[in-house]
Each structure stands twice: as structure tokens, then as C-alpha cells.
């Protein structure tokens, strides 16, 4: 018994990720936490997307299930789970069954290496970024399988479109990623890293987020990645695969109920995954804003309050809206519910002021906040842009982003090695 407690508590002082420390218990705990957090994030995304999109489109969005539709995603989830799961008679049963599993598996597995903080990752891999790109590229397989197994024209065309799109945008994406990896090697030893945690630490060591590095090269690389990641996740304006007005629903036209919800889950977790890559590579991962400029302990203290303040702000918004609720008996339950939700948020916010917790949590907070920014941009895109046509999409990928990526890569290498080149040229 004592040994077990020893085993569990020994990790807490190790200062490593559970994977690196080899502590199986904490690995399992972290997997559970990441999985649960991701599910909650997807559910929250569902609600937020509908709400934000609705407000962009001068409507209210879900308002009926719970106060301001807060319980809508839960109602949707229950509906999806209870729905009849239809499989077309002519479908290839096994492949049809496998496809959503592969997509979900690929979307969730990448989170093994996502660094929510210097120690808050399930594990740190030597090839972290490569692993993320590789595993997320496996989801193409699931999409192709889904489209083919449905044995119907629309899903097949949707699958062809999205797989062609994903395969071609992976190239531009890879080049942008490589230029960021090159930047990690600009240190004394000259060896870079592919590890996700290492990349963020390199940004910390160099005192600069890579988006500002070699201005504007980092920015351009980030821009290429940002465009490619929207295409990679099949989201508007690159949502050709699911173009409702053309292909009804693309590769998952024939899916329903639980299986369909798996695709849904995978789409949103893939969005979070690629946003995590972007945050890690260019936006300093878990680092708080200005870690080097404002690095006095006072500033550390001040920034550690921000997570709590954010939650308190949301709580205050809830209370404000509670006060604005119609004073009618029919709205009583909703009013109480909203107030309760605000109270929970306020409680979380207050707990976050408690120093041991605030220190452990603020890395995760900054990382999530940055990812949430990306999520908002995703929704914003969807509300603003018309859809690209397939050939235009391919043109953008191959004729614009790919050459740009190559150029940025070469320039980054040249600028990074400039001292060495200078040295060789001037002192042969």
C-alpha cells in the first residue's frame, strides 16, 4: 500500500511528463483527463459555434434547452446516441464500421503529445510534431473508407474531394512546420528538436514566439500553416467535402446516429489538434504573453491572476444575464440554472486564485486560451466566407501555398545560418 502511494506521489516531484517519468498511473490519469477535457471542449465548441454563428447572423441560436441553450449540446448528444443507426444494405459492412473508428482514433491519438504545459502532456516524444502530423494524416484513410463503403455517389465524391484536399495541403503544411523547426535549432549547440515541449522551450530560450521570429518570415510560415490547417480539417471556406449545397453532406452522407456523431467528434477534435500545433509552433504554446519582457516576479504574480479573473468575468456575465431574464414563472428554472452555472464558474475562478492551483493551472489556461482564439477564428471564417471551388482550392494549395512555403523555408535557413555564411565568406 505504502509503495503504491509512494509510486503515485513520486511523480509529482519529478518535474517530467508522466510518459517521460514512466509512471503508468499518472499516464492513465492524464489520458483520462485529456479525453474528458477534449469531450467537454467539443461539446462546448458545439454550443459556442451555434451561438457565435447565430449572433453573427442576426439571430439568437439555441435558446430553449436550458438558459441560453446551454444544455443544447447535451440534448443533441442524447438524441444522436438514441437515434437509429442505419447502414445502407449495399454498403461494405466492415469498412463502413471501421471508418468512423479510424477517424476518431486518429483525431484523439494526436493529443498524446500535445503540451498543455512543461509537464502537462501525456508524454513527450522525440518526434512529437512528426507524430502529430503522421497520425492526423491517418484520418484521411477513415474518410476515404467512409466514402467508399457507403456505396453511393455523393459520399464517394465527397471522400475523393476531401482526401485530395488533405493530401495536397499536407505538403504546404509540412513545409511551414519545417521552417518553424529550423528556428528551434538557432541555439548555441545548433541542434533543433521535433519534440513539442522542446519547441516551446526553444521559444522561451530565444525569448520570442516564432511568429515574430525573422519578421516577417515566421508570420508568413504561420499564415501558410493557418490556411492549410483550415483546409486540412475540411472547414469553411474549404469545406468542399461537406458542401451541403453540392454533395448534401459529403463522405458522411450515409451515416447517422452514433457513427455520425463520431465523425462530428473527430472533426472538432481535429480542429483543436491542428490549432494546438499552430499554438505550439508559433504562438509559444503554454507561455504567457511577454514572458521575457515582463519577467519580474510582480508580473508573474499579476499574470497568474488572469485565469481566475477570466472565469470571474464569465461568471459575472452569467449573473448579469440572470438579472435580465424575464420575470415570469415559466422562466424560473432557467433563471436558477443560469445563476447556478454562474456560481460554478465563479467558484472555479476563485479556486484559481489559490497559489498552488494557479501555478499548476496557468500553463494549461494560456494554452487553452490560445487554442480557443483559433476556434473563434474557425467560426468567424464559417460565418464570413463563401466556399472555394475544388480547382481553385487545388490551385491555392499547389500554386500559392507550396511555393510560398518553399521560399519561406529557404529564406529561414539562409537567415538562420547568416552568421555562419558571413563567417565563411569573410574569413575563408
Amino acid at each position: 500500500m505504502h509503495e503504491i502511494i509512494e509510486y503515485i506521489s513520486s511523480y509529482l516531484t519529478s518535474g517530467k511528463t508522466p510518459g517521460a517519468a514512466g509512471n503508468m498511473f499518472w499516464v492513465l490519469v492524464y489520458i483520462m483527463l485529456v479525453f474528458a477535457g477534449l469531450s467537454v471542449a467539443v461539446i462546448a465548441m458545439n454550443w459556442l459555434e451555434r451561438k457565435i454563428l447565430a449572433h453573427m447572423q442576426v439571430r439568437l441560436g439555441p435558446m430553449r434547452v436550458g438558459p441560453h441553450g446551454l444544455l443544447q449540446p447535451i440534448a443533441d448528444a442524447i438524441k444522436l446516441l438514441l437515434k437509429e443507426d442505419i447502414m445502407p444494405t449495399e454498403a461494405d459492412g466492415f469498412v463502413f464500421w471501421m471508418a468512423p473508428l479510424i477517424v476518431v482514433l486518429a483525431a484523439f491519438t494526436v493529443f498524446v503529445v500535445v503540451p498543455f504545459g512543461p509537464t502537462h502532456a501525456i508524454t513527450d516524444m522525440n518526434i512529437g510534431i512528426l507524430f502529430m502530423l503522421g497520425v492526423s494524416s491517418l484520418s484521411v484513410l477513415g474518410i476515404v473508407m467512409a466514402g467508399w463503403a457507403s456505396n453511393s455517389h455523393y459520399p464517394l465524391m465527397g471522400a475523393l474531394r476531401s482526401s485530395a484536399q488533405m493530401v495536397s495541403y499536407e505538403v504546404a503544411m509540412g513545409l511551414a512546420v519545417v521552417s518553424a523547426i529550423l528556428m528551434t535549432s538557432l541555439n548555441a549547440s545548433g541542434t533543433g528538436t521535433l519534440s513539442m515541449i522542446g519547441i516551446v522551450q526553444a521559444q522561451q530560450a530565444q525569448g520570442m514566439w516564432f511568429i515574430f521570429k525573422f519578421f516577417p518570415l515566421g508570420l508568413i510560415a504561420f499564415f501558410i500553416f493557418a490556411v492549410a490547417m483550415v483546409a486540412e480539417t475540411n472547414r469553411a471556406p474549404f469545406d468542399l467535402a461537406e458542401a451541403e449545397s453540392e454533395l448534401t453532406a459529403g463522405f458522411h452522407t450515409e451515416y447517422s446516429g452514433f457513427r455520425w456523431s463520431l465523425f462530428f467528434l473527430a472533426e472538432y477534435s481535429a480542429m483543436i489538434a491542428v490549432s494546438s500545433i499552430a499554438v505550439t509552433l508559433w504562438l509559444g504554446g503554454w507561455l504567457r504573453p511577454f514572458p521575457n519582457l515582463l519577467n519580474s516576479p510582480t508580473w508573474d504574480q499579476a499574470f497568474s491572476y488572469i485565469p481566475g479573473i477570466t472565469f470571474l468575468f464569465f461568471a459575472a456575465m452569467c449573473f448579469y444575464n440572470t438579472a435580465r431574464m424575464p420575470k415570469h414563472p415559466l422562466f424560473r428554472v432557467q433563471t436558477i440554472g443560469l445563476a447556478g452555472f454562474g456560481a460554478v464558474l465563479a467558484l472555479i475562478g476563485l479556486v484559481m486564485f489559490y497559489p498552488p492551483i494557479s501555478l499548476r493551472v496557468q500553463d494549461i489556461f494560456w494554452f487553452s486560451a490560445k487554442v480557443a482564439g483559433f476556434m473563434y477564428v474557425y467560426i468567424w471564417f464559417r460565418g464570413t466566407f463563401p466556399r472555394y471551388r475544388f480547382d481553385q482550392l487545388m490551385q491555392l494549395g499547389w500554386k500559392v501555398l507550396l511555393p510560398m512555403g518553399l521560399g519561406v523555408l529557404i529564406l529561414t535557413a539562409t537567415v538562420g545560418l547568416w552568421p555562419l555564411i558571413q563567417h565563411t565568406l569573410w574569413h575563408p
Binding site: D92, V95, L138, V167
Partner: protein, 169 residues
């Protein structure tokens, strides 16, 4: 982190590879064959990982499982499956196939039996952390020439493919 249950995982992945390989050549539905091939490639990537070659494993997944196999599936899906399933398989050369397989197997066994000196009995002690850097150092240092020749070969292949696909450029 110390390796856990190495023999178990080795046999698991080796078995998966074998089963996948057999399924590739026995399935009459080409899509199923391709999927089995993906299983084989993924199992192979796992074995690379066990050999402390994470970079090769990652590249294997990105390039083969995520890239090339998608293109394979692409082509297969565009061809009508119902029709091609009814078509005669290329099974008429199974005698030649078995002879080749036996010969290849014999060669492997012979090399393994004769050349025990090539295979050290102790476990390789490559430090995991430096694998990627090592690959880079070897590729751009010692094997620079071979590497560049390989890329030239790929260029030739691309041009060849374009010439064959497009009659008029």
C-alpha cells in the same frame, strides 16, 4: 523509459504484419487488400519504433500509410469494384510465385545462419534522443551522395509519370 514486454509486442506486430501481408494477396476486393496493406505498414512502423528508430517510424506513417496508400485507395475506388472482382485474378503464376518466395526465404535464412557475426547479440544502445539528429547527420554527411542520387531518381520518376500520363504537354 525502459522497454516493457518487448517480446510480446514484437510478436504482436510481426504477427500483424504477416496476417496483413497474407490478406493483401488473398482478398479479392482490392479495397480490402489495400486496407490490409495499411495494417502491415502500420505494424512495420511499430517495429521501427521498437528498434529505437522513431523518425523512420514517423516517416513510415506519414508517407506510406497517410500518403501513398491514400493514393492507392483513390485509384482503386475510381475503378468499378464489382467488375474487377469478377475478373480473373493473376493467380496463374502461383507456381513461380511460390518458388520465388521459397528462394527468398532460403536466402534470408542462409544469411542469418552464416552471418551471425553481422548481428550482434547484445541489444543496441542507441540513445533515443539523438535518433533524428543521427539520421540527419548520416544523410547529409556520410551518405550525401547516395541521398542526392535518390532524389535525382525521384525526379526522373516524376518526369516519367508526367510523360506517361500526359501525351501532350
Amino acid at each position: 523509459m525502459a522497454p516493457v514486454a518487448t517480446p510480446f509486442f514484437f510478436y504482436l506486430f510481426a504477427g500483424l504484419m504477416l496476417i496483413g501481408g497474407i490478406l493483401v494477396i488473398t482478398r479479392s476486393n482490392p479495397v480490402h487488400s489495400a486496407l490490409a496493406l495499411i495494417v502491415t505498414l502500420l505494424a512495420q512502423a511499430s517495429i521501427y519504433l521498437m528498434l529505437y528508430a522513431p523518425f523512420v517510424a514517423g516517416v513510415q506513417i506519414i508517407l506510406y500509410a497517410g500518403g501513398i496508400m491514400v493514393l492507392f485507395l483513390f485509384v482503386i475506388m475510381l475503378v468499378s469494384i464489382e467488375r474487377s472482382m469478377k475478373e480473373r485474378q493473376f493467380n496463374s503464376q502461383w507456381v513461380a510465385g511460390i518458388i520465388t518466395a521459397v528462394a527468398l526465404g532460403g536466402l534470408f535464412i542462409a544469411v542469418y545462419a552464416k552471418g551471425t557475426s553481422i548481428f550482434p547479440h547484445h541489444a543496441l544502445s542507441i540513445v533515443e534522443e539523438n535518433n533524428t539528429q543521427n539520421v540527419a547527420t548520416y544523410l547529409y554527411g556520410q551518405y550525401m551522395f547516395a541521398f542526392e542520387i535518390a532524389s535525382l531518381l525521384l525526379l526522373v520518376a516524376i518526369i516519367g509519370a508526367v510523360v506517361m500520363a500526359k501525351k501532350r504537354i
